[in-house]
């Protein structure tokens, strides 16, 4: 019998995600997939497997899990408190998870979307070529307490490796390129947009994230009747009240609100991972700069495996230190050896 993962207790928004579903944009279905694809690459590097393998995306908080066989796991994305049968686990690392052990993952401490990767990947039946749930479209659904997920065959055994993730969990500067409607906004509005420090609004999900700011909105004047046009993840849409929404992976395929710019793909995880209230600013760059950054990012993702290194464990953080046989052949000072 192949291995399975039981969800003993699921957080409010767990879903299976991979790199998304291509080929259905024409009938209204965007690729979607993981909110932070970089985290999928990191999990793949830690477990020495394909980044196309499906993992569990945990929005805000995790849950508790148990496997029916010995498996390997990796934890990436938003940092969450994790324990295995009570022993703390390092985030951004791979671990052995014995059959029957309980993995408990708490709330996000830094970032918004955490990922639980399994050696061999989650092996549910693909729907239209992907295992990812497109929650807004009604393809797949959130995972619930009591669900059991099949796990694929694992070709590797190595665990206890770590990786330092890129800096993308605390908001900051996000780079954008001009979109097809950027010039519908006058120069003053565009200048004000890039000079504004936004706060990520609590209203945010896999479809889009609202950006709050003080002062006036960012309207075009003629924005309410433009022809509906293609939208892509990263587009910054200005709705009727002038507030920017950064469209995320489950965004619609077309939309009629003007877009002031488009976040470059490699900076989109920075929006996804920002917690509510986190400060974010936008900076226009040229297409040539964006292409160069895209190429560098692709090279970084391809080279992640070379940055994986064995975890160095600090004895002070090992709770059950005394159960380890650190020195053999110790003679007790308090018992009489001749009485044995």
């Amino acid at each position: 019998m192949s291995a399975a993962l039981d969800i003993l207790q699921g957080g409010p928004s767990l879903s299976i995600q991979d790199m998304g579903r291509r080929g259905y944009r024409a009938v209204g279905l965007t690729e979607a997939g993981a909110m932070d694809p970089e985290a999928l690459h990191e999990g793949a590097a830690l477990l020495h497997q394909s980044p196309d393998f499906a993992a569990i995306e945990m929005a805000g908080s995790g849950g508790s899990f148990r496997a029916t066989a010995d498996i390997r796991i990796a934890l990436t994305g938003a940092t969450m408190a994790a324990t295995l049968d009570g022993e703390a686990l390092t985030w951004n690392a791979s671990h052995a998870m014995p059959a029957g052990a309980t993995l408990t993952i708490g709330g996000a401490r830094r970032g918004s979307y955490g990922y639980l990767h399994i050696g061999g990947g989650i092996a549910t039946d693909p729907v239209m070529g992907s295992r990812s749930s497109h929650l807004r479209a009604g393809v797949g659904q959130t995972l619930e307490t009591g669900d059991t997920l099949p796990i694929g065959a694992d070709a590797h055994t190595e665990v206890s490796n770590g990786l330092t993730p890129s800096d993308r969990f605390d908001g900051g500067k996000v780079r954008i390129v001009a979109s097809m409607q950027t010039e519908a906004f006058d120069q003053d509005t565009r200048d004000r947009f890039t000079a504004t420090t936004f706060r990520r609004d609590p209203r945010g999900n896999r479809m889009g994230v609202r950006m709050d700011s003080e002062g006036a909105g960012f309207s075009t004047g003629s924005g309410l009747s433009i022809v509906s046009e293609i939208v892509v993840a990263g587009d910054i849409q200005i709705t009727g009240d002038g507030a920017p929404f950064v469209l995320m992976c489950e965004c619609q395929t077309t939309g009629g609100y003007p877009r002031i710019g488009t976040v470059i793909p490699c900076d989109l995880p920075r929006i996804a991972q920002a917690q509510p209230g986190t400060a974010i600013t936008f900076e226009f760059i040229t297409m040539a700069q964006a292409i160069a950054l895209g190429q560098r990012h692709a090279a970084d993702m391809a080279g992640l495996r070379s940055r994986v290194a064995p975890l160095i464990r600090d004895p002070a953080t090992i709770r059950d230190l005394l159960s380890y046989t650190l020195i053999s052949g110790v003679i007790s000072a308090t018992t009489n050896p001749f009485e044995e």
Partner: protein
């Protein structure tokens, strides 16, 4: 602007636009050009789609030299006048029963007021208008349909309606949409149907194709409840016939 216009869409692809505003020849051009790009099967194009007046080619622009793809597009565009292209073959005419107004569709009166007609006249016109699927988008299988008479050239509302239910019939800018899923929208909610655009798991998960035509005849709330109880096909009591 000179059509067709070729523009980048972030780093996600290239958009070929045949008009600045919705018109039928441009809509036909977008559909026909998409079919030609599909036939050409260029390796760097991962998928294609259409909006009302544009064809989209999904291309990773950080991995593909820009001239390579724009040269190909220019050459294909030059082969014919795409605005003269015929509508897609194998189209269907649907009649989708609809409750206008009531608390099921609370913005009928507001939409009529913005359009400058009384609510009864609005229902009389909308329930007999025949519209065409101009494009599918926003959500799985969700049709943008038009064009209605100039009376209905009304803007989207400022601010979003928090949520309209699946099957909601909404209106703006001479177009209708039936919603696939519960969703926020800037369009006004004027009617309610039980028609499912997207039927996950069905043999034909996507009910409509660009070029299909529809009418939305008026029914009572009791009739809609009856349809909901009896019709589990996703058609919501709709009848259909082949267009030739």
């Amino acid at each position: 602007m000179t059509e067709p216009l070729i523009r980048t869409v972030g780093l996600s692809g290239i958009l070929v636009t045949f008009a600045q505003a919705m018109n039928e020849p441009a809509n036909r051009a977008a559909l026909a050009f998409r079919a030609a790009v599909e036939d050409a099967a260029w390796p760097e194009v991962t998928e294609t789609s259409t909006s009302l007046v544009s064809t989209f080619l999904a291309v990773d622009l950080s991995a593909t030299p820009m001239e390579q793809i724009t040269d190909r597009i220019q050459s294909l565009l030059a082969t014919q006048d795409w605005t003269q292209a015929p509508l897609p073959a194998g189209r269907t005419l649907w009649h989708v029963p609809t409750v206008y107004g009531t608390d099921l569709a609370p913005q009928l009166e507001e939409a009529a007021a913005v359009a400058g007609v009384d609510p009864d006249a609005a229902i009389a016109e909308l329930s007999t208008s025949r519209v065409r699927v101009l494009t599918i988008g926003f959500a799985p299988g969700q049709p943008y349909m038009g064009e209605l008479s100039e009376t209905w050239n009304i803007p989207r509302q400022e601010g979003l309606t928090k949520s309209v239910p699946p099957g909601a019939l909404v209106i703006a800018i001479r177009q209708l949409i039936t919603f696939t899923n519960a969703s926020p929208t800037g369009w006004r909610h004027i009617g309610q149907t039980a028609f499912a655009n997207f039927r996950p798991g069905a043999d034909t998960p996507f009910a409509l194709s660009p070029g299909d035509e529809l009418t939305f005849p008026a029914i009572s709330r009791a009739e809609l409840e009856d349809i909901r109880a009896k019709d589990t096909s996703g058609n919501g009591g709709a009848s259909w016939e082949a267009l030739t």
